[in-house]
Symmetry: C2
Subunit: 147 residues, 2 copies
DNA sequence: GCGCCGCCGTTGACACGTCAACAACTTCGT
DNA sequence: ACGAAGTTGTTGACGTGTCAACGGCGGCGC
């Protein structure tokens, strides 16, 4: 069962990455553009964006740099904290996410969600929630703790 | 639900990668060492190994090169087909997989399998099998087919 | 006000994965 | 036997993800 799950995970990754590639985006691009497109005007602090998507600062910084070079977003200095950086969509970035979103959602449905019965969807949600909750309950399982 | 699944997938990836890293291996290493450790003596054709793990030739070649540099396996010419390459474990490679396997299996159990009821395990297996079957049934879904 | 500690973001090095192109070899039709 | 076509593995370029280290700034205790 773990083997099947592992392969399904890889398969879905590939299918989604390929479909998004047709719109010129990667799934990493999509992960960032999606919350930015729903953010209040003016953009988001890099810190807050990182918390929204659950990325560490390094990964976020690299991805933002690459996307800024492609013109999908811009970095500005944060007015209230000189350490901070504010990230905002460019017009091209907004256009890209709006062009990609419907096809992406549809793709996820066709290759995954629509293949599940309503009960299976509930079961999957319960499993995912439980696995993630268990992770935050025990921050450092560490393999053989003795406390 | 898709969001929860997506995050669970990322979480499990990280947990597994980190645990394997403690043994000096990556999950890509493990994916290759595992079938090799169960292969008949003499190793496997690169082609066959690729089919077993479902990787394309390029990915396989890169990973084999990196692992050969680390001394985990060796490449030899294939005696029956001059195009081919035979991959075999070194002693270090066999030692590495045997040292890593129990902890890895245990880790997967603790962070995933043991959190599921027997019914949920069945459901998950059914879902994964269905999603993968659907993929091979329709080789190229292509977004908006009109056939 | 100063100094220390912690937070914020960046950078460089490296591993991983994909794509396209290639070289070497086999297979098959003729 | 010969050449076209398919197979096998390698390589280079690039995007992505992680880790460790760093520089800059804020906040807090004194």
């Amino acid at each position: 069962m773990w083997r099947a799950f592992y392969e399904m995970r890889r398969h879905l990754d590939r299918v989604i990455e390929r479909q998004l590639a047709e719109t010129g985006l990667s799934s990493a691009d999509y992960d960032l553009l999606s919350p930015l497109s729903e953010a209040p005007p003016g953009g988001l602090r890099a810190r807050d964006l990182g918390n929204l998507v659950g990325w560490d600062r390094s990964r976020l910084s690299h991805q933002i740099r690459r996307m800024e070079q492609r013109g999908l977003l811009i970095r500005r200095e944060c007015p209230t904290d000189a350490r901070g950086t504010v990230i905002d969509l460019t017009q091209a970035g907004r256009a890209a996410i709006e062009a990609a979103a419907p096809g992406h959602v549809d793709n996820v449905r066709r290759h995954f969600v629509d293949l599940l019965s309503p009960e299976e969807v509930d079961t999957m949600t319960a499993i995912a929630t439980r696995v993630l909750d268990r992770a935050t309950d025990r921050p450092a399982p560490e393999t053989a703790e003795r406390e």
